[in-house]
Symmetry: D2
Subunit: 238 residues, 4 copies
């Protein structure tokens, strides 16, 4: 899974700015973040942290929307299928109608847990045996090669790309740009990662979680106070 942060306009200061218009109104613009505050920089930082935590706790979500992060994601189609169910985001994906797709397929790594136990919706996954691991790797490779040959055969016979591609498997890689704001991203993370201390635990498929973890790392770097408040409040998106 590849996740690159292509472009971001996302800072904790954006949250503060938007939130303070409620209480400061037309003075917000004058009240630049660098303005001198009673108590100096440290006191100001503490107030900022407190305000962001207050917003998160009270589920005042709109101040977390005035920002934007664009990611380039390269992942198999079965991951994109889950990803695009998140509707508060903008997507553009590589098109199998407009271009010939390349022969790059996802094969589960040896450390991918392969055996599910437990109830639907709350599965636990355990490591597979050596035989199971070998089987999965062999089958996913063989199926991919077989399908891709079929795809090529049809293209060579002059069949339209949009028709030929229908034989390709769900583990073929695709790529997309996705743009989200921090509020939407927190909702995504709350559902697509499995973490201790989560108010409402989720059980995502491991492969989308691998994407989510990379996005989370970018988010943590860009908006550290917002990120801390998200974690401190049970990882529920405001």
């Amino acid at each position: 899974m590849t996740v690159e942060l292509v472009r971001a306009s996302a800072h904790d200061a954006d949250v503060l700015f938007a939130a303070r218009v409620s209480t400061l109104g037309e003075q917000t613009l004058a009240h630049a973040p660098e303005a001198n505050e009673p108590g100096g920089v440290e006191a100001e930082h503490k107030r900022d942290r407190g305000l962001i935590n207050y917003l998160m706790q009270g589920r005042h979500g709109s101040p977390f929307e005035h920002n934007s992060m664009t990611f380039y994601v390269r992942a198999p189609i079965f991951v994109f299928r889950e990803f695009m169910r998140h509707r508060i985001a903008s997507y553009n994906e590589e098109s199998g109608r407009y271009r010939e797709l390349g022969p790059v397929f996802y094969v589960p790594a040896s450390d991918r847990h392969l055996v599910q136990v437990g109830k639907p919706g709350a599965y636990d996954f355990l490591p597979g045996s050596a035989e199971q691991t070998a089987l999965v790797q062999q089958q996913t490779r063989a199926a991919a090669i077989h399908a891709y040959e079929s795809y090529q055969r049809m293209l060579e016979a002059g069949i339209a790309r949009e028709v030929a591609r229908i034989v390709l498997p769900l583990n073929i890689y695709s790529s997309m740009y996705v743009t989200m704001n921090a509020r939407a991203l927190m909702n995504f993370l709350s559902l697509r990662t499995k973490r201790e201390g989560t108010q409402f635990p989720s059980f995502p498929q491991r492969e989308i979680e691998m994407c989510a973890e990379q996005m989370e790392e970018h988010f943590r770097t860009l908006m550290p106070l917002t990120y801390d408040a998200f974690n401190a409040n049970g990882r529920v998106a405001p």
Copy 2:
């Protein structure tokens, strides 16, 4: 492609009701559709038609939202991939994580045009030769069988469903419920059908158009005045 209308609360009268609150305010509720109007039923019908046409023409979209249609759709995954890019709708789909998927695959019928000509984004499709048609049917069948055997082999070896399914091809059938209002449906139809007289022509893949055509037929029956106004105004969603 199967499309069934599972449930609908969608009538032209809903549009009129919502629109008239603008001009009648608190009297709307009293002003029931069956109320006696000057000029009788025929004149009233003409006024209704005129109001809906006026709304469509002026892109007053919100009155077209106070209604709801739920469809059951059974189609291949490559169709669902395009479908779910429409974000103003509600989806629930069969899950390859929670259940074993059945061996039902889409094979293009003999009348499916297979050869594309023209520029990207505005392709025309022409019938394939007998050889091309035979090749497509043979390849899509063979690839499906091969992939499904691989899927079965992994399931039998105790591999989790969510892992085994990644070898399945894009032409396997899935099923879902989708709920939309008329405004969102018109947007869907404007982009997923190819019709004469369309203000902004679209070039959808034939298979999603086959779904769209069935949805359009339900829409036409449920909301005939709205449907006529949609067509009369270039099939641009308001």
Copy 3:
């Protein structure tokens, strides 16, 4: 505040139907709710309740979207201003551009708490003194009469309605239709009511809460299992 349920297509069965497509796929349609289930009606009812609770707890929100409720709401403009910040809903409101607004104004009742104590964002409200109550009632009435006379004077002089109306106060009544699904409604209720046992307490203005309470009552009647699960899980929308 007037809230009437104009039309609804909203049942717990819709939630179950949509959720079961995940695990039953194409058999859902056949699997009608009245089908004979092992254990009879009572066991089925228990299973239904369990499934809805499971969905709510795991924040599987999409099954709660395949339904629709349309309300007619009559309330002052300052309530509509808060209401329309909820974006997952459809609105049509009486227009001050298209019609002359009637002289109906909101005057706080004697039991409306008038004095705020505590911190911003978490105020408590206490009853006003007899003098305070009298002042509020006298001032809101007098201001309304004065403003409405100004409005009338301009209309009589041939001024356009959209200009004349700008003198009208925020407590003038307006009316609208609003359509929501159960998921959006639960989000609305979680933010616009103040209840014991709420995971993330909110502090709504009392007048919008008066609308929300009436909507909640309709919701409780239409979808009792969903409503119970909402309350049992901290009144957090899934």
Copy 4:
């Protein structure tokens, strides 16, 4: 009306980048905009313009979403009421519950057309007479002063801000931050400006159009190719 561009991450290049992922897939990132192209910079510029026009014409809307513009807007409440009906945007507004609102009111300027002629939904506005203009200015001022005195009287008597504010008129100024992407902004402009050459003419209230015109000017500067394509294709948002 004050509109300031607070922050923007919005360039024509973002549109091109997102669109090209469809046809270039994983090579998009490598294919930086400054890359050497056959035909040099001029030919490249022509290709860019052509692609953006093609997207607009074919209503391929999603590439126009990977960008973000945040505006600070100061305008009367009756303008905000219309503004916030646009749901694909993020808002934070000055709160009459959390702060005391200042006595700043909108009074129509002498060149504001005051007399409406024509049919509902397609009014034309003509200049008022000297008497009409004087009346409007006198009445809006007097009503504002009267209402604000009432507001002050209640605040001084210890009445909560959220109650006292209900007497304030619709022409009192408020301020907000609003964040949109280019696609949402084009939709806003198509409905809130009145221009020659518009495919579906709109008839906005003049005061929101004054905001829209300032936003349009920022948009034109930030994304000139997108802006040209919007105008060349009838000002219909893609």
